[in-house]
């Protein structure tokens, strides 16, 4: 029992010690020392999480720590899951980060400011799930947002796009904060207390309207943090511009906390709700899943692709969470526990493979200076280990066996399919659609990662920078290897998580059900008969592969040597690397199929020769796939705000009397209202 507080205290101490370390230390040792401290934070926090998953619980209050309300902490299995995930990701990415900043000078992630903020960011990722009161939670949430903002800004000197991305991120995360603040404040006021215990006990007495309001506000804020439509626009901007280690942390640990918040508030504190809540959540999740992966299919910037893929995976997770709520509302707690377990398992798997993918993308960026897939290629020869690690991460991301993404998607599909046992026309209509959404996003994800791997890493280099790539330094590879080991473990023995997952699901009230049980190898569902053995699949594939190779060797035993031959070039000379398919061309059939959804913009600009309009001097072609939701939803809002601001300029006429008058009349009006309304 005392492991959790000790581990948390260690993590806090290391994290806080990292701030002066980052500011004071000279550049030679700064990266290594701060990286080690951050890794320590990760390990300590992860230990606390694992201990909580193993059945430990912890709660503490420190009344003097925060003014007015004091600080309250509580760790149960649900927070333990998220802490464990965040801890593992932080530890591995910290090791990766040491290699990333070594030799990069003191710009970007290696600068004093960024290094000072990094351990603090890691610490907030671990402490947010441990918060047990509204003020503590909001404080840590905001600290997390601010530190991540500063980290996103780390490379602002190198590229002007970073500032714009940071502005978008800052605005949207604070919009989320405002919604969260509003929702939680209403909740605390109505429930009569601000600790989670008070909220839990007071939620039953609140009217359905208030509960609905609280849920809508907090769900919008949390899904925005998770990168779901419609408040997702910060994700594809902030992730590419942040340094890759930071992108990995954000995508693999920070967005999870949006899911954590949704589960905590929706299931634990509010205790479930009417069906429309969960249908809304499912709609957001499903829409994000499909829209996110479509945009990823159109993206040729590698990190933007990965960011949209995060949006898609979070959409799937939230789809599962919504289904759990729907089932719980209908009374089938066993199935609700099952689908929630699937969603949480997908969170874990996603963190593992997404951080690996971002790490590999960071290696590529560092080696070539390019993020654009259309300008990469041939990296498997120059950076074989990075390519192999990216392939492993991609296997997880496409949700096919034997990857780790397959296990959680299988479980999710199983629980959706068996959800028809829940009576009601709503489920009968919603569940097939949910299955279709999951399937479509899985199929598109396969296309996306074939594109990323095939165009970016295979064939031959398309530019000189790609041809000049060197393998990453050892520490970066070590960090990625840790994540790869995690992916493999999750793929082959997912049952290791089995008990912890049960406890996490039980912590939100689906107690007494054991959705995932069985030994370390298999996922067997008790209520429904379906089972999956990932290890068996790997063994079978390996045996079959061996058999096929042996048979082929034997059959062609007379021919020993492999010959090299030229590629088929239609007799027109050797094909150049520029003739290979690019990411844009690979995605073109998909773009055509989903033309209505994506609404791509094409511009052809023909400049004729001056003397004759029939001869062309120059042709410029531009193809852009904008973010349609941004266009349709954000543009009008932003335009309206700009117009309102313009018209409000008339208030700032320059007359000091007017300014003073505003204050005076405001005060008098307030007093009059006070008198009249008394």
């Amino acid at each position: 029992m005392s492991l959790i507080p000790a581990a948390l205290a260690t993590a806090t101490a290391l994290g806080v010690a990292g701030v002066p370390a980052g500011l004071i230390l000279p550049q030679r040792v700064r990266g290594a020392l701060v990286g080690s401290l951050t890794a320590g934070v990760g390990v300590a926090g992860g230990t606390a999480g694992v201990a909580a998953l193993g059945g430990g619980r912890f709660s503490a209050s420190a009344p003097g720590l925060l003014p007015l309300a004091g600080a309250h902490f509580a760790v149960d299995a649900l927070s333990g899951l998220f802490m464990a995930v965040a801890g593992a990701v932080v530890a591995a990415v910290a090791v990766y980060g040491i290699g990333y900043v070594a030799g990069h000078g003191s710009h970007g992630l290696g600068s004093r400011g960024a290094q000072a903020v990094l351990p603090l960011f890691a610490l907030t990722l671990l402490l947010v799930p441990a918060a047990a009161a509204v003020s503590t939670f909001l404080l840590l949430w905001e600290l997390m947002a601010l530190t991540s903002l500063l980290l996103v800004l780390a490379e602002h000197r190198a590229r002007p796009a970073v500032r714009e991305a940071a502005v978008w991120y800052a605005v949207m995360t604070h919009l989320g904060l405002v919604l969260l603040l509003a929702g939680l404040s209403v909740y605390a006021a109505q429930a009569g207390g601000e600790t989670f215990a008070a909220l839990r006990s007071g939620s039953g007495a609140m009217s359905p309207t208030v509960r609905g309001l609280v849920f809508v506000l907090t769900a919008t804020a949390f899904t925005s943090k998770a990168g779901l439509v419609p408040l997702h626009a910060w994700l594809p901007r902030a992730h590419p511009e942040a340094p890759s280690a930071v992108s990995a942390l954000m995508s693999a640990a920070m967005v999870n906390l949006g899911v954590y918040g949704l589960v905590r508030v929706g299931f634990d504190l509010l205790g479930g709700g009417p069906a429309w809540w969960w249908l809304l959540v499912m709609a957001m999740g499903g829409l994000s899943a499909v829209y996110g992966i479509l945009q990823a299919a159109m993206a040729s910037d590698l990190k933007r692709l990965l960011a949209y893929s995060t949006s898609e995976n979070m959409g799937l997770v939230v789809l599962g969470v919504g289904a759990a709520g729907l089932f719980a509302h209908a009374g089938d707690k066993a199935l609700a526990g099952l689908v929630l377990a699937a969603a949480l398992l997908h969170v874990v798997n996603h963190s593992a493979f997404k951080s690996l993918l971002f790490g590999a993308a960071g290696s590529v960026l560092r080696a070539t200076g390019e993020r654009n897939l259309d300008l990469l290629g041939g990296l498997r020869a120059r950076m074989p280990i990075t390519a192999g690690l990216f392939a492993l991460g991609a296997l997880g991301a496409v949700a096919l066996p034997p990857g780790n993404g397959f296990v959680s998607e299988w479980l999710l599909l199983q629980s959706m399919i068996h959800g028809l046992a829940v009576p009601g026309v709503t489920t009968a209509i919603v569940l097939p659609l949910a299955v279709a959404v999951i399937a479509l996003s899985a199929g598109l994800a396969a296309a996306v990662f074939v594109k990323a791997l095939g165009v970016g890493f295979f064939a031959r280099p398309r530019t000189a920078q790609a041809a000049a790539a060197q393998e990453s330094p050892l520490l970066m590879l070590a960090g990625m290897a840790l994540l790869a080991a995690l992916c493999t473990a999750l793929a082959l023995v997912p049952g290791l998580l089995g008990d912890g997952l049960d406890r996490a699901v039980a912590a939100v009230g689906f107690a007494g059900m054991h959705p995932v049980s069985g030994g370390g190898l298999r996922v067997r569902l008790d209520e429904v008969s379906a089972s999956l053995s990932p290890l068996w699949v790997v063994v079978a594939l390996t045996v079959a592969l061996g058999a096929v190779t042996a048979a082929t060797r034997w059959a062609s035993r007379r021919q020993r040597r492999r010959m090299n031959a030229r590629l088929w070039d239609c007799g027109g000379g050797a094909p150049t690397p520029r003739m290979a398919y690019t990411a844009t061309s690979f995605a073109e059939p998909l773009q055509r199929v989903f033309d209505d959804v994506l609404a791509p913009e094409q511009d052809v600009d023909v400049t004729p020769v001056r003397e004759s309009a029939y001869l062309v001097e120059r042709v410029a072609f531009r193809n852009r796939v904008p973010d349609r939701i941004e266009h349709r939803l954000y543009r009008p809002v932003l335009d309206f705000l700009a117009a309102a601001g313009q018209s409000a300029r008339r208030l700032a006429g320059g007359s000091v009397h007017a300014y003073l008058g505003y204050g005076f009349f405001g005060l008098v009006a307030l007093l009059v209202v006070l008198v009249v309304g008394w």
Binding site: R380, A399, L400, P401, F406, W410, L413, Q414, L420, A421, A428, P432, L433, A436, I438, A439, L440, G443, L444, A446, A447, V450, K451, G454, F458, A459, R460, V528, S529, A530, S531, L532, W536, V537, L541, A544, L545, A547, V548, T552, A555, S556, Q559, R562, M563, A565, R566, L567, W568, P575, P577, M579, A580, Y581, F586, E588, P589, L590, R592, V593
Partner: protein, 320 residues
């Protein structure tokens, strides 16, 4: 013991019979088109010929190109083990999940697509791009059809579904069953790369989907690719036969039943193959951008199958 025998017989039949099935289909087409045809054994002869040629690696390709053909054949072999063609009472019956089967098929497609991109030629990329587009769009159909099939059986476990269908034939003639058959048939056409989605015998590169990916293969690698494609087709047709005409499949531990089931499944697959080949004579290949419409139609059929299964099944005694 009988179960192991069943598996061995099944795999052996699939491995030996895949090229024969392809040969039979080509022969059927040839006869219908008024040609003499090359004979049923021709695909075997082709495989043998190719295996004896020199192994060739095109310059500029890498491990993905090398390992895709064996991986394709390996996934098809694992599928041949899993799918209950001959008996539902095998040692692997707990592991034969329909979603796993669908995903292994997708894995094979993925491997070939990566190989196509690994060549760095325009044709390889084109084939990979088209194949992945079709694969992405066929996923919803297949999984919703799986959903529809699992509702009456209460599980996605293949032997359970097949045994249930064998016990209660009425399931298959219900509206849900028929819709599911139609949807899955279209999905099988797309997955195995047959007309009207893709023409396996085309020589025009710009009309190719599957063939463009494998344009660079030669010798033993090409033998593996072709063999793998034939295996996939056989397994898929066998899957269709088991799901929608499961009569005769062995459900117990009796050797005679197993042998009888083997004979029956061979007959069924032959009939299906010949029917498909005959239909192909009358079909033209769809334009690539008409294929999504076809797949959307099949998705709609699958969705209707699910809703029919729920609404009509609910009247007839519960959805589960």
């Amino acid at each position: 013991m009988v179960g192991y025998t069943a598996i061995v017989l099944q795999v052996g039949a699939v491995v030996a019979g895949a090229p024969l099935l392809t040969g039979l289909m080509r022969q059927t087409r040839a006869r219908l088109e008024g040609r003499a045809g090359a004979g049923v054994l021709q695909p075997w002869r082709d495989v043998r010929k190719l295996l004896r040629k020199e192994p060739i690696t095109p310059v500029g390709t890498g491990p993905a190109f090398r390992w895709a053909p064996p991986l394709l054949v390996a996934t098809s072999l694992v599928l041949a083990v899993l799918v209950p063609l001959v008996s539902t009472d095998t040692p692997v019956r707990a592991r034969a999940d329909l979603i796993l089967v669908v995903s292994l098929l997708a894995l094979g497609t993925l491997a070939l697509a990566l190989a196509g991109l690994d060549t760095g030629t325009a044709f390889g990329g084109m084939g990979a791009s088209r194949e992945m587009t079709i694969a992405a769009l066929v996923e919803p159909t297949i999984l919703v059809a799986v959903f529809a099939l699992s509702i009456p059986a209460g599980s996605t476990n293949l032997p359970v579904i097949v045994a249930g269908a064998a016990d209660q034939p009425a399931r298959l003639t219900s509206p849900a069953g028929l819709l599911a058959i139609a949807a899955l048939a279209v999905a099988v056409l797309a997955e195995s790369g047959r007309l009207p989605v893709d023409n396996p015998s085309t020589h025009l590169e710009l009309t190719m989907v599957h063939e463009a990916m494998v344009l660079e293969y030669a010798g033993p690698d090409l033998a593996l690719v072709e063999f793998g494609a034939q295996l996939r087709l056989t397994v898929l047709l066998g899957l269709l036969a088991s799901l929608f005409a499961p009569w005769g499949i062995a459900t117990g531990a009796s050797l005679t039943a197993v042998l009888l089931a083997l004979l029956l499944v061979v007959l069924k697959v032959m009939v299906l193959g010949m029917a498909l080949a005959a239909a192909e004579v009358f079909w033209a290949k769809l334009r690539l951008f008409r294929v999504p419409e076809l797949l959307a139609g099949s998705f709609l059929l699958a969705l209707l199958a699910v809703t029919a299964s729920y609404f009509l099944g609910a009247e007839g005694g519960g959805a589960r």
